[in-house]
């Protein structure tokens, strides 16, 4: 009987909105709770070359399929595909997930001495919000932002973090840059008008040359 009660209690706990899982897991510097996960948060350790925090930013960024509607050819999206900050800034991202599935907001290529594997990672469960803070380095650079669930970046969940002047746009950031490989969207039967125009060119040139003689 005691066992049944324990199990029933465990069941209730699992259904409750907050569970006892929130804690630090050493090697990955990971914060996990029922809202999601924050990995490699950094509030105070300055990157090399930064004497002080230049400025504090606070961004509300939403994710979900609803943002795909405005971008033809995507399935998922972000409310903000480009984030611009000053070098040595402290950036807080309040990431809210409007979908009924998980999404992530990850920055890559950060200095590994501060961020293990060079990554700052937010993961929000369905309908949940997570917030995390990190400090960007002092040099002008553009960093990749994406959701690393299979095909989410490819199908629209890609962004860029521009520090200072940045280092050039990344490819296929919705609303910022086009795709490196792009499908052909030529209307059906385009070969007909194209051939006609080609012939026209020949005729025009021939006539022109004749008239000049």
């Amino acid at each position: 009987m005691a066992k049944i009660r324990t199990l029933a209690l465990l069941w209730l706990l699992a259904l409750a909105p907050t569970c006892a899982l929130a804690q630090h897991a050493g090697h990955h510097n990971m914060q996990l709770d029922t809202a999601g996960m924050v990995m490699n948060a950094n509030h105070d350790r300055l990157p090399r070359g930064c004497d002080a925090i230049s400025r504090d930013y606070d961004f509300d960024i939403a994710a979900g399929q609803e943002f795909a509607a405005a971008v033809p050819g995507t399935s998922f999206g972000l409310s903000m595909h480009e984030v611009r900050v000053e070098p040595c800034a402290r950036v807080t991202v309040n990431f809210s997930n409007r979908d009924e599935v998980r999404h992530q907001w990850m920055v890559h290529g950060l200095p590994k001495y501060l961020y293990p594997t060079g990554m700052f990672h937010l993961e929000a469960n369905a309908g949940a919000s997570v917030s995390g803070t990190f400090i960007v380095p002092g040099d002008d650079r553009t960093y990749l932002i994406h959701c690393d669930m299979a095909q989410h970046m490819e199908k629209g969940m890609k962004g860029q973090l521009v520090v200072g002047k940045g280092s050039g746009n990344l490819w296929s950031v919705p609303g910022v840059s086009r795709s490196f490989y792009r499908d052909s969207y030529l209307p059906r039967g385009s070969w007909l008008p194209l051939s006609a125009v080609f012939l026209m060119g020949i005729i025009v040139a021939t006539l022109w040359v004749r008239r000049g003689r």
Binding site: L7, A8, W11, L32, G73, G118, D148, E154, K155, S179
Partner: protein
């Protein structure tokens, strides 16, 4: 005059260069009567052997994963083969992700709500309220920046067809790490085998993380047409419900009254979606006291924590999921990155009535990778339970060497004792399941004694990779005395070096190169003939040029 001389030279060269084997046979026979046979000239010798270094047969997985271990009260059986499932995931799938410690959960890779196990409704010491969450993942998909398949997963060396799978709910990234493009180990073909106990109140939430609509259909498992709230529960867009759209989720409910081996799959455009890999085994174990079942079996294969009823009669249990794939379908997700273009290509331009299957998988791999993770390893006297599904488009004639299976259940219903017989070919129609007893009793019927005994589809396309054999779903029953320490069987036939190269399955290597390169290797080129034909062509060209110049000058 000059041109006449040139024409005559050209004609002479044509006659000289013309290969004698091209003369009409009558001319050749007449010549033979005067001169006899032509003198000996050797045929070209063999080409040099392939230089590609074969992959490591048995690269091994994470250290310690193969060992037998006890994790928070769950006994996880050892894996004798080369690659094993994550034992922490096995333990979390048995206890429930809500009942394990934070440490076990982190090492399992699952989210805290991936498999929730709750109340013990019948008071027999195990949880009966089970909530499973599944996501949908695309493997070997496209990207707007790269021509390589992303979230890559190889069936066999160099074979990476596009795939869709139901996936256990895993925290974090889809790839091994950011530098890697490899799908993480729990993200793979086939969709996981799911396991519950008879009478459990089961909820399966489909969280559609994919860019196309999908549903969940519980094929053969006892479920109501609607859920308690009246929502569709059969997964059929035509009759039951609107599909789960990208980014959306829906829960399906069932309380299965009968034990048996069932099936689950997507029911949206099934001739495309099910064939892309959206299908898995759904096993309902008999109700027993203290029966904690392994709710998720990643990649099917050996069940490392078998249920109580299985342990009563068997030493081991294996889930065997057969699936064939059509390259002309699966490559379509790799040709475009626009979901609209992909949708049109897969559902309108692809025509399954013209299709033929190219790849034949067992538990998500084709030979030789099947030998890394789908061997059945056992000792004399063992009894082994095999749960088999054929998820492919064509039937499977499942044949084993060295043994005869006893079919104890079909489509989740027991075969009456009196109707059972020992069989060495078991036919499985599309989506059919069978429960097979493998009895390693050396009685000349059930088993013929220790060895490395292949088992495979006896329909011949099934033992190839796109027509190249050996390939497809070949695996083996290996007796422990024939297993090496590292998990690779001590085979005594030919070298497998060729089979662990990409070139072999690209049809670039002679099939018997490894042991008879001189005899059956590809012949080298005939350079002398090429030289002769070059002279012939030059002369013919010269002749034609001369004729044309005569025509133009009006001669």
């Amino acid at each position: 005059m000059r041109s006449t001389r040139l024409a005559l030279i050209c004609i002479a060269l044509v006659l000289l260069a013309w290969p004698p084997q091209w003369y009409p046979d009558t001319v050749r026979i007449a010549l033979t009567q005067w001169f006899g046979a032509a003198p000996w000239r050797s045929l070209p010798g063999p080409l040099a052997a392939n230089a590609e270094t074969p992959e490591d047969y048995c690269p091994g997985g994470e250290a310690g994963w193969r060992d037998e271990q006890e994790i928070e009260g769950v006994t996880v059986q050892a894996v004798a083969g080369c690659v094993a499932d994550n034992p922490w995931l096995v333990a979390a799938a048995v206890r429930g992700t809500n009942n394990v410690s934070h440490r076990v959960l982190m090492r399992s890779g699952l989210t805290a709500d991936a498999v929730e196990k709750g109340a013990d409704l019948d008071g027999d010491g195990d949880p009966d309220v089970i909530h499973i969450r599944l996501e949908v993942a695309e493997l070997n998909g496209s990207s707007a920046e790269s021509r390589d398949p992303v979230t890559s997963y190889a069936l066999a060396p160099g074979i990476t067809p596009g795939l869709w799978v139901f996936a256990p709910k895993l925290a974090g990234m889809a790839t091994e790490n950011f530098e890697s493009n490899q799908a993480r180990s729990a993200l793979r073909l086939p969709s996981p085998a799911l396991r519950v106990e008879q009478g459990d109140r089961v909820i399966i939430t489909l969280e559609n993380t994919h860019y196309m609509p999908h549903t969940l259909h519980l094929h053969g498992a006892d479920h109501g047409f609607t859920t308690a709230t009246g929502a569709g529960n059969d997964g059929v867009p035509l009759t039951s419900e609107v599909p789960v759209m990208p980014g959306m989720a829906r829960s399906y409910e069932l309380t299965p009254r009968h034990a048996g081996t069932m099936f689950y799959h997507c029911h949206v455009q099934p001739h495309v979606h099910v064939m892309m890999g959206l299908q898995g085994l759904f096993v309902i174990e008999e109700n027993r006291p203290n029966n904690w079942v392994q709710t998720i079996n990643v990649g099917a294969g050996q069940v490392r924590a078998p249920a109580v009823a299985v342990r009563e009669s068997y030493q081991q249990e294996y889930d065997l999921h057969y699936l064939d794939l059509d390259q002309q379908l699966s490559e379509r997700i790799q040709h475009s990155n626009d979901p609209r273009v992909i949708t049109r290509s897969m559902h309108r331009e692809y025509d399954i009535t013209d299709a033929s299957m190219d790849y034949f998988t067992l538990n998500g791999r084709s030979f030789p990778y099947t030998f890394r993770e789908s061997l059945v390893v056992a000792a004399p006297g063992d009894r082994i339970k095999l749960r088999v599904v054929n998820g492919g488009a064509k039937g499977i004639a499942l044949h084993t060497h060295g043994h005869k299976f006893v079919v104890v259940a079909e489509d989740g219903s027991a075969v009456p004792e009196a109707a059972r017989s020992a069989r060495d070919v078991v036919w499985l129609a599309t989506s059919q399941r069978a429960e097979l007893d493998l009895i390693l009793e050396n009685d000349g019927v059930h088993a013929y004694g220790p060895g490395i005994w292949p088992f495979h589809d006896h329909q011949y396309q099934g033992v190839t990779n796109d027509g190249i054999g050996p390939g497809g779903n070949i695996s083996a029953i290996v007796y422990e005395e024939y297993m090496g320490e590292s998990g690779w069987p001590r085979t005594q036939g030919v070298s497998w070096d060729n089979y662990f190269t990409v070139a072999y399955y690209r049809k670039q290597l002679p099939v018997w190169q490894s042991y008879a390169p001189g005899l059956f290797g590809d012949p080298g080129p005939d350079w002398i003939l090429l030289l002769r034909l070059s002279v012939l062509m030059l002369a013919l060209g010269g002749l034609l040029g001369t004729l044309l110049s005569w025509l133009r000058s009006g001669r």
